[in-house]
Amino acid sequence: MEAWGLLAGTPGWVTLVAVSGLCGLLVLDDTAWGQTWFSQPLPAALLTGLVCGEPLTGLAIGLPLQLVMVGNIPVGQTFLGDSTVAVSAAVAAAALTGHHLDPALVFGDPGLPLLGWLVVGAALLSLGGNFLVQAERRAHVPLMLEGHRTLRDGDLGRINRLHHRALVMTFFRGSLGCLLGVLVLTGVWIPLLGLLPATLHRAAGIVVVLLPGLGVGTMIDRYGLQRSLPWVGAGLVAGGLMAGVLR
């Protein structure tokens, strides 16, 4: 396996450990500590790309995923995929297997099947990661119940220990989840692309171009089409003009 061989090189492992640590911190940032939004798909992908020495690959993978996930609102118990882990794993997998990806819409090449294939892979990883997120949240319940002992004996240190244990658990979910994601993507998902028929190959190249539209449409629907029409219309004209002038 070519991908495995590249990964097994010393620099590959060093990068992998660095990405895994970064991903643990980003997952902490997602909901547990800080919530700076650096764990959003675009900045997470850019940071992972920087660690791997491939910031453009980060932009290429992060941008369509960010646009399509802008409507994912983490309120209460609503659905929450694990996009941070998925996006970091996808960028790391591309970089560690020696692929350099350019953002399709920015640099004008929509026919890059690997980019689309990795974006789809990241979405599937994120869906799978949702089970891990839910499992972790359920694992916090026994910690919380253990805290009841403090209500009887007044041991304040126990509360701090339980809370810190939950934070450490979150870090390792991110860190180990990222490692697992990179292994799945490099060992199975990327090689699978070569086995796809030509039409699916082409579809993988097109999907990246379509995703921003789906994301924007979802946001307009969320705002309410009638209510948002004048504002979105004004932005549409401004965006079109800006794109025309600046490029």
Binding site: L46, G71, G111, R137, A198, I206, G215, G235, G240
Partner: protein, 253 residues
């Protein structure tokens, strides 16, 4: 509030959701914060037990605005040591009602207003290939929210029960309305930029099919009136891409 205590509470409050659980949500996180204040008091097992019991009930609020409540609760706890008028029941009522109000304002301001606005702004920069600016905008948001949390902790403490008046300020709702409008404009700007870029890609030999696909993709959520999570949208996009791949000339590959 003494500076040392403020720092301890501030840092602990950043992890309010660290032990979020489906049964009582942020209760362990809130107690872990409030314990920072209690640790500075002489030990009294009976009082500590009752204190912990008070904060171990169901609790959920918006993490960005929670410090108004935490500052206010610390102030009320201090007052309850000296004044009989501040009862544990009053503290419990303040915690629940203020927590709900802050959740409502915070969710509208941050999740419905600021999040899409910041994300769309950075995506617009991303579409122009400005990676560093993207990170700079997120850093700016991070610095802003850290400052808000710091300020709101002190403000909540100095206002005590009067923090309710702060939340009644109509500027909160004006801020929500304007951030949502900014988000709409930026969404439109991203759409405009996106369509122009797709038109250029289409001009490379695919005719209008790619553009039509993009328009269908954008129109689909508006027609279906469903808001699936982004991951499902990616899979939906793949289905649409397969249809287009059959329609587009094979030379494209």
């Amino acid at each position: 509030m003494p500076s040392g205590l403020r720092w301890k509470l501030y840092l602990a409050a950043l992890g309010l959701q660290g032990s979020w659980n489906p049964q009582r949500m942020q209760n362990l996180g809130l107690l872990a914060i409030m314990v920072r204040w209690l640790e500075g008091r002489p030990r009294n097992t009976e009082r500590d037990r009752l204190f912990c019991r008070r904060y171990y009930e169901f609790f959920n609020t918006n993490p960005y605005l929670a410090n108004y409540l935490i500052g206010g609760l610390v102030r009320l706890e201090e007052e309850s040591e000296n004044e009989a008028s501040v009862s544990p029941d009053l503290i419990r009522t303040v915690r629940d009602s203020l927590g709900r109000s802050l959740a409502s304002i915070g969710d509208q301001l941050f999740w419905q207003g600021l999040r899409p606005t910041v994300v769309m702004a950075t995506c617009l920069l991303g579409l122009y290939g400005r990676s560093w600016y993207v990170l700079a905008v997120f850093a700016l948001f991070a610095a802003g929210q850290f400052m808000l949390r710091w300020r709101s902790l002190g403000r909540g403490y100095s206002l005590g029960l009067d923090v309710v008046d702060e939340l009644a300020d109509p500027r909160w709702h004006r801020a929500i309305a304007w951030t949502i409008r900014c988000g709409m404009v930026l969404t439109g700007a991203v759409a405009g930029c996106y369509f122009l870029l797709v038109t250029r890609l289409g001009g490379q030999g695919d005719g209008g099919l790619l553009l039509a696909g993009a328009a269908v993709g954008m129109g689909l959520p508006l027609i279906c009136r469903r808001r699936p999570p982004g991951e499902i949208l990616v899979l939906l996009g793949l289905v649409l891409a397969v249809v287009l791949a059959f329609a587009l000339p094979a030379a494209r590959s």
